[in-house]
Symmetry: C2
Subunit: 347 residues, 2 copies
């Protein structure tokens, strides 16, 4: 899992809890003026002026949310932070502070924990977020990460998921389904390796889908686009569990229906090819795969003109009245209700 | 673990993750005007006006931080929330919002999770805190709780641990060592029970120490006292790991020394008796026991007059220059350096 397997390994117990926290946090630099006090007291202190504070939290548990046999620790730390940043972005806010709770069993060395933190720090640096606190603990089995992110937004700009209106245009950033393909590829190579440990992983030509799974990014750029163009989306949610699940959340919360067009759903060619190879309809991968951390949002029709040439945004359908239901208009022209547990899984 | 063992047990899997979150959060009432949006979107939204935001987070892991053989689930939920509230109070702030991440294995039924939440809700109600979000997950083994609390304070009232000054008086709320005695009692009864399961636990007359361990309170009252009397402590920290560990944190952060008087350390009679029964010097229990969640703070000498008759506060020593060291003045008049790993453990 490490580049240099001969590096000295340090047992965490040599440091003690306070020594470990000191070790992990000693290089933190504060970047946000709103961070008054970070690590080192009972609580972090955050200044707020005229903004509103956004807070979100996520759990990542070894064996449930990630598999260390194919997840490099640095990527894990990076991804865990990104998942949290994405939740703040999905409210049209800017992530600013991060709190990391980490628990691990004695099979983890100091170098292993450092790798995770390297990933966390990298994400913090890239997204200009301050690590301001957290707790370390021992776990009976495996690694557990629990992160809380704090962000801010102007009161009138915060975008909820329950405010989509009939005739709004449904938009999505980037492309969908690739992260799931990356996961399937890694799962397949793991099975091959378990069956025959002499086999080397065959990951060639799959850089894109692997990166989408192992090192996703949060769409901070879209928040900047909205700001530059002075566009306020009518509703917004991030795609963590797959497009199907998220559009259902958004429609139910907003008490509306929708028509999504299968032909409009953005799927990268590499992901499309991988999906075909796995004999899964690529639309199904995009709808149910999850893990892409793209942003699903709705806009007023009048804002379409300003966004229509934006290469990062695809227009995939429109909001209807609730009674019409939550539908996919298939390439063949048919209409299929979208369900979260996987429309088309038996397709 | 439950009062009525014949209650119907529901498997969590019948609900699914979203059903579970809906079930757990359906009765939440928002109490703080600063809580703009709680559970139900990508992030909670908190309004801030002219206050500063305080944030703290803690991990509680089964088999490490608690033992379910003698911890009722409702108490566990209550205590987990209290531990977090205490961190905000220790900054001279008011806890206002709570985020709960919970993971559990399939040996936990819905009723078990409900019990934990009953305790969390009870604590939130008592301390006027809003539960505003969280994540649920599956754990491979046991129960894991990760909580983040958000509070607020006036900018000029926030009290850090690194601002104690020479000649300040060292104060502590309540009494110390009782929670540790409660833990020792429960550990002893567990051993007795494991050796002979016909034995009934002998907990009589120990209500106080058991309650101190199982259902501690956070000292919100002291924050109100400071406000009423217009007193600003010069430094403050909560006692989670024991007086010795906390006074060392406070002195090191403030770059000062101290003299603590053994005879002044407040120890409840029940805890004193229990400590003698366990053949542990009661001062050692108070210094190293931990888990009392009392508040350790320092004040200017001019503020002593206003607090001297307060029954909730004991004056246990004073701050000295750094070179004098961190010392205990023993009942015999001797001077012993205080160490975190337990001065007097071999006494």
């Amino acid at each position: 899992m490490f580049e240099d397997r001969n590096k000295k390994k340090t047992e965490i117990s040599e440091l003690g809890e306070f020594g470990l926290i000191e070790h992990l946090t000693k290089n933190i630099k504060i970047e946000n003026t709103s961070t008054i006090k970070g690590v080192g007291d009972d609580a972090a202190v955050i200044d707020n002026k005229n903004k509103q504070t956004l807070v979100s939290s996520d759990f990542l548990i070894e064996g449930v949310d990630f598999d260390l046999t194919y997840t490099p620790l640095k990527h894990l730390g990076y991804k865990a932070a990104i998942i949290n940043f994405s939740d703040i972005i999905a409210m049209n806010g800017i992530p600013q502070q991060l709190i990391v709770n980490i628990a691990f069993s004695n099979r983890f060395t100091l170098q292993a924990i450092d790798e995770i933190y390297k990933g966390i720090f990298l994400a913090c640096e890239k997204y200009n977020v301050d690590l301001v606190g957290g707790d370390t603990s021992t776990s009976v089995t495996g690694l557990i990460l629990s992160m809380t992110v704090i962000g801010s937004a102007d009161k009138e700009k915060i975008t909820y998921r329950n405010t989509a209106k009939e005739n709004n245009i449904i938009c999505v950033t980037g492309d969908l389904g690739a992260a799931y393909m990356g996961l399937l590829l890694l799962e397949r190579e793991k099975s091959v390796f378990e069956a025959n440990s002499d086999m080397q992983p065959d990951l060639e030509g799959n850089d894109y889908i692997l990166e989408r799974f192992l090192k996703p990014e949060a769409r901070l750029d879209i928040i900047e686009t909205f700001k530059t163009l002075d566009i306020l989306p009518t509703s917004m949610i991030d795609i963590s569990d797959g497009l199907a699940s998220e559009i259902i959340h958004l429609c139910k919360a907003s008490d509306v229906g929708c028509n999504l067009y299968e032909e409009k759903i953005p799927i990268d060619q590499t992901a499309y090819n991988a999906s075909m190879e796995y004999k899964i309809n690529p639309t199904t991968s995009a709808l149910n795969g999850g893990g892409d951390y793209e942003i699903l949002f709705t806009i007023k029709q009048k804002d379409y003109e300003m966004l229509k040439h934006n290469p990062n945004i695809t227009f995939i359908g429109y909001i209807t009245e609730k009674a019409s239901g939550i539908n996919l208009i298939t390439n063949g022209g048919g209409q299929v209700p979208i369900t979260a547990q996987g429309w088309g899984k038996d397709k």
